[in-house]
């Protein structure tokens, strides 16, 4: 059983230590817990209550809570947390523009690079737009503070305007991009891309080797899946 926890916990440890070094630990924990919690609840409920096993810990109505079910839930949760912290660390410490420009420098199509960058930037842009719409609605008497119910009642009327205003701008935005040469095929000469330091190159190669090794180990059956 411990074997199923060791590697994910070690990975979580590495990620959290990296987050602490990058001074984003608190944000990372918040984001990861928010991301993992909804899935964790369903995993725990399904695994603990329905997974068959030999050792019954307790009986809850028609369900048997078994040691095997708890163990499975635990291993799954640790793995989920490892994934969410790793993704969270990437998003918190990587400048999206630097990421996309670097991909383009390495051969990614400029159009795809633009779409990726624009998608990343779209979320804060929509949040800002929602803030403006919320302020306008509040000035007209909409209550967006108070209890959870009051806040939900206040937020729901904003969803339509935020989405609709984003959609209606799409045509003009796409025409404006076309006029600025977006549709031209071929590569472009970037003004800037992030520096590629030797230690980052080494870390990249080590990660690629580790990933290849993991795949091989798994294919050879030397590391069994969760039972």
């Amino acid at each position: 059983m411990a074997g199923g926890y060791l590697v994910p916990l070690a990975l979580v440890g590495i990620v959290l230590a990296s987050a602490a070094a990058g001074r984003v630990l608190r944000q990372l924990l918040r984001i990861s817990l928010l991301l993992t919690l909804p899935i964790a609840v369903s995993v725990v409920l399904v695994s603990v209550l329905t997974r068959p096993g030999e050792t019954v810990l307790m009986v809850l109505g028609p369900f048997d809570v078994t040691v095997e079910g708890v163990d499975f839930a635990g291993q799954t949760l640790v793995r989920l947390f490892a994934i969410s912290t790793a993704i969270g660390l990437f998003t918190l410490t990587t400048d999206p523009r630097a990421f996309v420009f670097d991909l383009e420098r390495r051969g990614l199509s400029p159009r795809f690079a633009f779409v990726a960058a624009a998608t990343i930037e779209a979320v804060p842009a929509m949040v800002a737009r929602a803030g403006v719409i919320a302020a306008a609605q509040r000035s007209r008497g909409l209550d967006t503070e108070g209890s959870l119910r009051a806040r939900l009642r206040g937020v729901l009327p904003l969803v339509g305007p935020v989405l609709l205003s984003s959609l209606t701008e799409v045509e003009e935005r796409s025409l404006a991009l076309e006029v600025r040469g977006f549709g031209r095929p071929g590569r472009r000469h970037l003004l800037w891309w992030p520096p590629d330091r030797p230690i980052e190159r080494l870390a990249r190669w080590l990660l690629i080797i580790a990933l290849a090794g993991l795949v091989i180990v798994r294919l050879l059956g030397a590391w069994p899946p969760i039972p």
Partner: protein, 268 residues
Amino acid sequence: MLELRGATYRYAGYAQPVLHDVDLVLRDGEIVGLVGGNESGKSTICLVASGLAPISIGGELRGEVRIDGEPTAGLAVHELAQRVVIGFQNPATQRSGVAATVFEEVALGPMNLGLPVAETLARARRALATLRIEHLADRDPARLSGGQGQLVAIASLLAMGPRHVLLDEPTAQLDPAGSNLVAAALRDLAATGAALLVVEHKTDLLDGLCDRVAVVDGGRVVLDGPATTTLEDPRLEGWGVEPPARVRLARALAARGLPGLAQLGWPA
């Protein structure tokens, strides 16, 4: 010179054309104002002149659009964009959303054209200098005032190197201060020899800015002449265009038998 000759355009999915046999000429160094009531076809003329209609938005165009004597049919949008560009009324929709600074935003167009880095930088600097907004170069494009944002949008178009700039209601979403900022910048731009077509409802702005004004009604150009006389034409209001304040004031004074503006020493 940009010319529309007999341009008749129908939007995709529409049964009837929106533009009928439009003839319009935009000469180098000229500022032409385009006025008309709502849904008269002003924006469509800009879309046709820029080539976006029908290349990007579809539809059917009869007649011709020529730039410096050559027809634009068959050219791709990015090829046309180095000769004629179009700006829209909302500065926010003209932002790429991927530039961290105004300089990067303005340089995006030349970069998309595949130009060498030195040329891209030179064009961006020139565009900012033309509109006198070099001081905005390091600013976040998303955090500018309306007027500043519109100037950055225009600079982004200028960096493409066009000789013809079409602006569809560039001050529609701006306050008076922002409108004045844009108007002053357009004067500076015209002084460089670029040809400007400015669609506006604000005839006061066009009055002090344009060499010529054309009036559009029902998809046709119904009047095209020197700005001063065109904006004094008594038929303007019938076409859904409010004359400039000086014209309305002069008419009000005349209606009451009072001395005209010239007699009062009002500058021409």
